[in-house]
């Protein structure tokens, strides 16, 4: 009787490092490690030699010294005496701002265009195909510059809006589109506005609670409560009531055309670079999202819709209960990677002079201090942290939404 045993544990010979599969992987990894160490030593040695020759060193002290430049659009208090670190924070917040805005609008554009690409209407279908192809095939940098040029070269100057008889009227008496950006009314919070906001937050919580209650009731008893109209009512009625009961505490501060002879005063100013970047990223990425949405809806096989219809579901419920949950599983992962792309593409702000992190830390601070290596490393670290955290979120989502199989 023969049994299969391990090969005899003979003495170890040097040639086994290459010829024996048990040891070969170790050999390869050892070689790879040596090559890696050699490469790192070579690069680090070059870096040290070059820095010594140029009389430079690596130091992050510049972050604490005054930046010495102004930033026109900031979310936090900043002036030219603030530190470089503060300027970087301004940049980080500006990056976040434009990324969040662009993600929101790109999703809206993308969903609309993607759904319309599947429309029964031939003309609409073709128009959307043209939109998608044009925007996907032209670099986003060109779109940013085109929209920035529209903002700065075509829009009227702020002076056209000024005076008692202006050349151009404010839109709705509130919005001014000038070559420096858009002036919009700013909300004014008076006494009692906190209560209105509290009511608003509470009614949103109420909506979620109601929908949860309706769903549990449906699953438990099969009784179907309406959700659409009650939610809308819950959202609007309490807030409006609170608003008038408290005596209209929230007002709007529209741009004032008479206050100043040279410029509009009051309201919020949204600079032209921000608008160009925001809008260009939205329509460009919207075209990509449209394709994802279309693919996701088409990925749900027709049999699913038909089966749901055969069970007697109405078309709205077919969409909500059968098609969308399956389509979303296909749509959301590429959607999130598109959000990631938007976040990374906000670095193109430097082309139109929007003060994001690349323009502050990687642009002006780098040029003024000459700390190229430190600035670029910090810049990469920032983007890396953002990207990795978004990827981590995506993995959590994917695991939660994974088809649960036995």
């Amino acid at each position: 009787m023969t049994t299969l045993t391990d090969p005899p544990a003979g003495t170890f010979r040097l040639s086994m490092l290459l010829n024996d599969t048990r040891y070969r992987s170790l050999t390869f990894q050892a070689i790879a490690l040596l090559v890696l160490i050699a490469a790192i030593v070579f690069l680090a040695n070059n870096l040290m030699t070059n820095l010594r020759t140029a009389g430079l060193n690596i130091s992050y002290e510049f972050l604490g010294s005054p930046a010495g430049y102004d930033i026109n659009q900031t979310l936090i208090a900043y002036d030219s005496q603030s530190t470089n670190m503060r300027a970087a924070w301004v940049g980080i917040l500006n990056t976040m701002l434009v990324a969040v805005l662009a993600c929101a609008t790109a999703t809206v554009f993308g969903v609309i265009a993607g759904v319309l690409r599947l429309s029964n209407n031939w003309l609409v279908r073709k128009l959307m195909a043209v939109y998608v192809e044009i925007f996907r095939n032209i670099p986003v940098l060109i779109w940013i510059i085109i929209i920035f040029t529209i903002m700065t070269a075509v829009m009227p100057g702020a002076r056209d809006y000024l005076g008692a008889e202006p050349k151009t009227e404010l839109l709705f008496g509130m919005f001014a589109f000038t070559n420096r950006g858009v002036y919009a009314p700013a909300p004014v919070w008076n006494d009692g506005s906190g209560l209105v906001i509290a009511v608003f937050v509470l009614s949103i919580i109420g909506i979620f609670a109601y929908r949860r209650y309706a769903r549990n009731l449906l699953y438990a008893t099969g009784k179907l409560l309406p959700t659409g109209w009650p939610s809308l009512a819950l959202l609007i009625v309490p807030v409006v009531l609170a608003f008038f009961i408290m005596g209209q505490p929230i007002g709007l501060d529209s741009p004032d055309v008479l206050a100043n002879r040279f410029n509009l005063k009051g309201g919020i100013q949204i600079g032209a670079p921000l608008i160009a970047l925001w809008f260009a990223l939205s329509i460009y990425t919207g075209a990509f999202i449209a394709e994802n949405v279309r693919a996701g809806i088409q990925a749900v096989s027709k049999g699913q819709t038909e089966a749901a219809a055969a069970l007697g579901l109405r078309s709205g419920r077919i969409m909500n209960l059968v098609v969308l949950p399956q389509a979303l599983r296909v749509i959301i992962p590429p959607l999130i990677s598109n959000y990631l792309n938007i976040t990374k593409n906000t670095s193109l702000a430097i082309a139109v002079g929007y003060a994001d992190i690349t323009a502050t830390l990687g642009g002006i601070t780098l040029n003024q201090t000459g700390r190229a290596i430190e600035c670029v490393l910090l810049l990469m670290l920032f983007y890396l942290v953002i990207s990795l955290s978004i990827s981590a979120l995506m993995n959590v989502y994917n695991n939660a939404m994974k088809l649960k199989e036995r």
């Binding site: 990894q29 029964n120 003309l123 095939n137 060109i142 085109i146 890396l384 990207s387």
Partner: protein, 432 residues
């Protein structure tokens, strides 16, 4: 058996009614319009709104385009000719066309060289893109990089000749040793090529460029759309093999190799291309040996290649993961070792699956080559924003220039994506 007789039934039809044509509302244009444009009220409304949008777009652009002026010297003259009427000033394109294509420093009497390289590019790409063509045409593809380098940069022909010699020697070494072991062939080829290149570097004299047949053009004089094409083509073709290696490394069983590949890929994919271009611009020079003086073009090529290699690696990893496990096991059970299994079984199938993704990366990368304008290289966008819009003659001509740039990019990118769709249909071997 029925006992009913014919005359007991009230009516029996014994002739057919003549065939009628379908009602006019159910055929032809009317039916098409009804089905596709006016199926419901909402749909009809949508059609009318869309028609109005199309009308607005056409009335805004058509007079401007067809009323365009092509032959004036400056924007001021253009405005004189137009005399207040709507019209484009396309003269900027006809006057600055060469600058848009080649940059503003490339010697004008040498424009035929990049043009010839551009034509040769099609001959070189054809056998790669359309594999019905005879395989022997691949010789043109193999020679193209060296020819194109010599044509565009000029200088002594010895440089591309030695580069070619290194590759040829490497190939022969590979062919000689690959039968024994893939690793011996592969690394032997690299070492042999390096040896030839180093010899070449010693042999080529310092002043070889002085009386060369083609005048030498430094890298910083390259520009325009040519720069975009060169960066796109070079980086994509370099990054495919690197991407394959990274993808295999990431799938590997060797933990150290896997960690190296994962860190590299995730790092590159986590940062925007602009930061990598900053690295190329201000940082990378510090990492080369002192005095090596690697020029900006080469540094940018290195960084963009690393960038696209990481993305291509992820695409190919998707292809590798999509292959059924049986393929790997079948290759093992045939007794193939790792390089054989990869070259003969796994990669041909995985690469086929990955082609659409690779083409997507290539299109995205080609569009991203415009970012080099941010680090003050004068590519197409850099030319428009820099020398042309800053010149006194053409200060203020935006739309014509941006339209030209958009059209150039659209033609190339749309062409590539159409090719990819054709290829996907061509490669679809599962007869569904």
């Amino acid at each position: 058996m029925s006992d009913k007789r014919a005359d007991s039934v009230a009516f029996v039809r014994d002739t057919f009614i003549a065939e009628q044509p379908a009602p006019s509302s159910a055929t032809g244009v009317v039916k098409w319009l009804q089905d596709n444009l006016f199926a419901t009220w909402a749909n009809g409304l949508l059609t009318i709104v869309s028609l109005y949008v199309v009308y607005l777009l056409l009335t805004a652009t058509m007079p401007w385009i067809f009323n365009g002026i092509w032959n004036t010297e400056s924007l001021a003259q253009c405005r004189e000719v137009l005399d207040g009427s709507t019209g484009a000033c396309f003269s900027v394109l006809s006057e600055r066309w060469n600058q848009l294509l080649f940059g503003f420093k490339y010697p004008p009497d040498q424009y035929w060289r990049p043009t010839l390289a551009f034509v040769l590019m099609f001959a070189a790409l054809a056998p790669v893109l359309f594999f019905d063509l005879p395989r022997k045409l691949l010789v043109i593809t193999a020679l193209f990089p060296f020819t194109a380098y010599w044509l565009i940069w000029g200088g002594t022909i010895l440089t591309p000749l030695f580069a070619l010699a290194g590759v040829v020697v490497g190939y022969f070494v590979y062919a000689r040793f690959v039968k024994n072991s893939f690793a011996a062939g592969f690394f032997g080829a690299i070492v042999a090529a390096l040896v030839v290149w180093m010899l070449g570097g010693q042999i080529i004299p310092e002043n070889a460029n002085d009386n060369a047949l083609l005048a030498a053009v430094p890298s910083r004089d390259l520009g325009g759309f040519m720069l975009n094409m060169m960066l796109g083509l070079t980086c994509v073709s370099l990054s495919v093999p690197i991407g394959i290696a990274l993808a295999l490394g990431r799938q590997s069983n060797l933990p150290l190799i896997k960690v190296i590949c994962v860190v590299f890929i995730e790092f590159i994919r986590g940062v925007p291309l602009i930061t990598l271009l900053f690295v190329a611009n201000v940082m990378l020079a510090y990492f080369f040996p002192p005095g090596s003086g690697v020029d900006l073009f080469l540094r940018v090529v290195i960084m963009i290649t690393m960038f696209s290699a990481a993305y291509i690696a992820e695409v190919i990893r998707g292809g590798l993961a999509a292959l059924p496990k049986g393929q790997y096991e079948a290759a093992d059970s045939l007794g193939l070792d790792y390089p054989q299994a990869m070259r003969l079984i796994i990669l041909p199938q995985a690469l086929k699956i990955s082609i659409p993704g690779i083409v997507n990366v290539a299109v995205g990368l080609f569009k991203d080559t415009t970012l080099v304008s941010v680090i003050s290289m004068f590519d197409l966008v850099g030319m428009i924003r820099g020398p042309i819009l800053a010149s006194t003659e053409w200060n203020g001509v935006y739309w014509e220039l941006f339209m030209a740039a958009s059209v150039l990019f659209f033609v190339v990118c749309y062409g590539i994506s159409q090719y990819s769709q054709w290829l996907e249909r061509r490669l679809a071997t599962d007869h569904r």
